[in-house]
Symmetry: C4
Subunit: 327 residues, 4 copies
Amino acid sequence: MKSQLRAHVFRMIEVARFGDFSSHCVDVFVLSLIATNIIAVIIGSDVHIHAQYGEWLDLFALMSISLFAVEYILRVWTCVEHPEGNHSKPATGRLKYIFSPLMILDLFVVIFFYLPPDYAVDLRILRLFRLLAMLRLTHYSEALQLLTAIIKRESKTFTAIFLVIVSLLLLVSYFIYLIEHDVQPKAFASIPDAMWWSISTLTTVGYGDVVPVTVMGKVFGMFVMLIGIGMFAIPTGILVSAFSQELKRKDFVATWNLVAKVPLFSNLDAVEISSITELLRLRSVMPGELIVRKGEVAERMYFIVAGEVEVELENHSAKLSDGDFFG
Amino acid sequence: MKSQLRAHVFRMIEVARFGDFSSHCVDVFVLSLIATNIIAVIIGSDVHIHAQYGEWLDLFALMSISLFAVEYILRVWTCVEHPEGNHSKPATGRLKYIFSPLMILDLFVVIFFYLPPDYAVDLRILRLFRLLAMLRLTHYSEALQLLTAIIKRESKTFTAIFLVIVSLLLLVSYFIYLIEHDVQPKAFASIPDAMWWSISTLTTVGYGDVVPVTVMGKVFGMFVMLIGIGMFAIPTGILVSAFSQELKRKDFVATWNLVAKVPLFSNLDAVEISSITELLRLRSVMPGELIVRKGEVAERMYFIVAGEVEVELENHSAKLSDGDFFG
Amino acid sequence: MKSQLRAHVFRMIEVARFGDFSSHCVDVFVLSLIATNIIAVIIGSDVHIHAQYGEWLDLFALMSISLFAVEYILRVWTCVEHPEGNHSKPATGRLKYIFSPLMILDLFVVIFFYLPPDYAVDLRILRLFRLLAMLRLTHYSEALQLLTAIIKRESKTFTAIFLVIVSLLLLVSYFIYLIEHDVQPKAFASIPDAMWWSISTLTTVGYGDVVPVTVMGKVFGMFVMLIGIGMFAIPTGILVSAFSQELKRKDFVATWNLVAKVPLFSNLDAVEISSITELLRLRSVMPGELIVRKGEVAERMYFIVAGEVEVELENHSAKLSDGDFFG
Amino acid sequence: MKSQLRAHVFRMIEVARFGDFSSHCVDVFVLSLIATNIIAVIIGSDVHIHAQYGEWLDLFALMSISLFAVEYILRVWTCVEHPEGNHSKPATGRLKYIFSPLMILDLFVVIFFYLPPDYAVDLRILRLFRLLAMLRLTHYSEALQLLTAIIKRESKTFTAIFLVIVSLLLLVSYFIYLIEHDVQPKAFASIPDAMWWSISTLTTVGYGDVVPVTVMGKVFGMFVMLIGIGMFAIPTGILVSAFSQELKRKDFVATWNLVAKVPLFSNLDAVEISSITELLRLRSVMPGELIVRKGEVAERMYFIVAGEVEVELENHSAKLSDGDFFG
């Protein structure tokens, strides 16, 4: 009984699968609540708005934090229902769930709000991560997952580059400190102070609030600026290569099965299919949708994997079905 | 009769097909008029020039706006003649046409000019879009169309990245506001105010008009600058991958038919042709044009798809025709 | 007789082919003279140095300009000797040569120096182009030629992008002018003035000398900064794709012939060779050079196209020759 | 005897191979010492910290420099033990070793510290390179080695680009000097002074401390900013291409042997293997590790090269071993 209720509540809180109307409503409500809270935090930071609508905003904050607290407790209670079974053990599973990054953030939002006045901070804006997590499950998921996958897979490379950048930063800061410290004892008071200039120059931000004034400092500064170009080119280069490779592999398995279905290709062996697979792209067409306009220069060939296509030619129309192709 | 006149006017207004001289003249006139108007707006904004030539510029604006209005009416009247037939129904077709983005812009240009003095704005500069639309149909079309195609196809990815960037921006603004608000109550008056610093740092613009001054603010600022590098690398990475893939596919169909015509390749099967296709590039040669100079190191092989090529060797010259190759 | 002298002088002035010692000396002399002149121009611009060494620098300028003038005349005289025969006709060929960009620059350097004091400008720094032209013929040529080739081949695309950028610039300048003109009548005095801010923001330079102050101006400014990211991503994307394609094609013909020579591959057909060709890389080895160290993990396979390789194994050494492979 | 001691000391100092515990301890000690020294240099530069803890920091510096000196002498003494045998000759081998870049840096750190007070500089921060060298041998090595390999292989290209950039810089500085010198005799005092503006604009850093004020200077400035975009796009383009090519080749040999082992592919010829090789990716799995979760959409196919895999299906589990595949 209790287990059944828990399963029901879990289904409500989780992002709805297609077709579950009541759960979908809960999603929309939570999403709107988070979005409204974020907007409230942002506009509430303005002095004039706070003076005028401060009470209402505070009331709204209090109410929504309470709702967040309820949601938090419900999440912890129902987490054992996760179909992947990561948290199925009541005690350890729940503990593991509580210490997942998103849950810690959610807890922070609630706790820091209820702290004694001196320490209370309004962290509702951190619910942004929950917002992104909910969107992650919608149709934007593919692109973000690809990016996350690449960053994970190339994490070693990025760590290596990060180490090099930090070393570079330390050296640049040290030398500019040696060079400029005597002339500008305030702006280049210490190596950590010099880092402000170094990093704003290496990343080509260039605020201009701190600038070397000695001849040697300027010569060194020019050199640092030129290195800054490399700091963009190298990570971009790695990311682009990783992206191309990942996309290639991803497309591959998806198209393979389709290619094998097209009769024209049926007598090809595995390698030949693989070559063709690289060049094809899956496209789903809704019934009645126009694939290509008559008279347009055909830039692609179309192979029909499933369904029928009607082709209108000069004076008659033909129907093509599975395995036929045109283009 | 009326329909014939309308068809004639339509042909005049539309960008001319090759060989239609009178329509071409109209194009050149409209193009020049738009260009002149844009230049007039730009130089007319200068106080000294306006003081001296203001009357002439106003007269020119009035005249050209009237011409634009006439053109607008003619466009609406003749739009049913579009060969693609999108607007062929007199009533709904025209309405659809009137609400196409370019036509709305054209209407704005005319209307805002004729408004009562207090609201009148000179929007002739928006005709720039019409200018670009006309150029789109000329020989620069290919590159721009490729770019538009990629942006459309990857729109989901770009939306996802845009969402991540906006979230990042909100978080960065929120934290810098918390950190710097007490020390710089003016520059970081509210979160929207803090956004100005956040975005100018994340995009590496770095005006330097607003800069964190506290130690924590500077440490956070360094961190934000480093993130800024990723903001260039990621969109670039996605765009580059998309570009490479699109170019590969585009070249493919174009060269396929040519390859199939060259006798040397006639006994290859589909996959082998596809491999070769990837490496070839279509090149049209004018009669009499020099393909490759004698003595130059040959970096390419040339296959003749159609026509004849004369090869001058040491002491004689040979004629090669369809299907032969050299290089 | 005169023609023989002219041919001799031509050989002297032109960049020396390998082994021609006296012509090589002339090259080194001209190169050094140009480099020294450029340095003289740069350090001569400093007031203190000019005050102290001004007379010597002026004398040196006078002397080298005279030499440049002599070289210019000799070049024009001997240009008919060009082996490519572009300028072989004494009159029209010479005229064509005189109006080639580099020669016009050389002429400017001489003429502007001898003009009456009010107009005389020291343009010796433009000889930089001559310097680059001389270096272009040395071993850095390949990389620069590849770059020039790509820029030429993709010139249409770059023109299209340039048009879009200019349009964007005009629109951004127009709107920021409308928004900020009333509040900052000095910094945004006219649209051309507003362009200074627009371009420094779109290119992410961000001097910060001119900055929008109104709320709407700041919101618009944030939007413009975000667009700036695209201005880097798009040209980079196009360049990268073009580069990859060009490199692929370039490698292809160079390796093809080598692959065909290796016995292991002799029974492959054209397409199979093309696949392999993509993966190989030509490497020339000097006699006695170490190709791969014993014990290193072999990351490549080596195919011997010409010559012999000695392989030292645990307890004996073997000689491999043409067509063998190891790795 | 002495040789044995020397070999032992060498093993201690060098980065430990897996399993050598005592040598590993020495590594950790040296690494920590270097890291602590770097931190000491950085925080010791702060005036307040130096006032309070200066004596302790100086003592620590003295002690660690002495240890560095000892390490330096031991390194020179034992360098003849290098297994690669580069430095096996007592006299010349050692001299060659002493003049390797890292050893010169190490010597500098020690010498400059012991110089008479007026010239003494604390260069302990340069030990950063030794730190990086030690990390280079750990698991981040691959990514950094790839980067170093590419930069070495493309060094000609990068030199060519560097030459073009320097030329561009000189020309831009020269012209902005001509244009702005009369109006801003201080900021644009000489061409080297003008370089500060040129380089900060070309690299899009844009400090804004020096800015052209004349109309012509601003027009020229806009032009220079636009060129700046190319300065990012071109090196990035080259790097990306080089990266993609290198990764492709690197993967190739590594996967080739594995592919040849899978029975499904055994009847393929060399070219076909090469096509497949491009699409596979080596993945080592620890015993007990989960390869793919049940119910997840399979995006990859897995081929087992060595070992066994247990597959859990709906109602039974199967064991797959070498040569089988699933996915």
